[in-house]
Amino acid sequence: MNTRRVSFLGVLVALALALHLLEAQIPSPLPWVRPGLANLMTLIALLTCGWQAGLLVMLLRVVTGALLLGGFLSPAFALSLAGGLASTLVMALMARGAWRLWSPLAMSAAGAVAHGGAQVLTLVLLLVRTGDLPWLLPWVLVPSLVSGIVTGVLANLVLLRWQWYFRGVA
């Protein structure tokens, strides 16, 4: 990994962390509903430097975010980590078809739904331990899909406009 890449990923982690902290300040009637803009940085890392870079950016963001906001290793942290891992996995699998079969918009949307689904699954397995959380599922998945599409449009705009820059890094 060359110096240029390391510093680029550092900037991505810093931006992701800033967005993560900013989003945590937004009051919401549904506390788990977040715009998910921090995922933009995971997506950019994934597409420019490979899936390992995406995983790294996501992990560093989730861990440092939890350390700064409090709640490291708490149930909320477990939810955040599970969501991050699931969305990064889905996006990494879809990265093969990026700009050929689909654009990063679709990757972001699928990642966001995986994020929400994994969170509900973790909640059921870890905290509630009753086989189902029926009423919660639509309240998580539908906002996830919407925020994933919004983040995806932004991802496409950024990736296209800054193409010359990302090409130099990767």
């Binding site: 654009s103 679709a106 949307a109 639509p138 539908v142 899909l145 496409n156 296209l160």
Partner: protein, 135 residues
């Protein structure tokens, strides 16, 4: 240089990507609907949520009979689950209004003990019923 919205978001050769994205989004919508819709239908709730002083402290599985002890500011409120319903068995509060609430078992019902700040809630929408009738 003015570019179309399509080109701004999907770049050159955007129509193909737009179609690919649409296909993925349709699949996602279908998956979300399939997962979410049958579950959203009402019925008898499977669990009761217990809050003390506004904070969720426990979720009781209504398929498992038993007595749970919930600690509030005044002392221990004992909550019984039997046959898919839930009631307050004993409470340290002076007026015992929560205990007199009896059994609840339908979505949207709740038992409240204000002195001990305990709220037992059955999640879901009350199906076509009214709150109360004043005569």
């Amino acid at each position: 240089m003015r570019r179309s919205l399509l080109e701004r978001i999907w770049g050159p050769g955007g129509v193909r990507l737009l179609l690919g994205d649409t296909a993925v989004l349709v699949l996602l919508c279908a998956a979300v609907t399939a997962l979410a819709v049958p579950k959203a239908a009402g019925g008898r709730p499977a669990r009761a949520e217990v809050e003390v002083a506004g904070k969720a402290v426990a979720v009781l599985d209504l398929s498992r009979d038993g007595v749970s002890e919930i600690r509030g500011p005044l002392g221990v409120t004992r909550v019984e689950v039997r046959g898919g319903r839930v009631r307050v068995l004993s409470s340290p509060c002076p007026r015992q209004a929560c205990r007199h609430g009896g059994w609840i078992g339908a979505a949207g019902e709740m038992l409240v003990c204000l002195p001990n700040e305990v709220v037992i809630r059955l999640p879901g929408q009350r199906a076509g019923s009214i709150d109360a009738v004043a005569r």
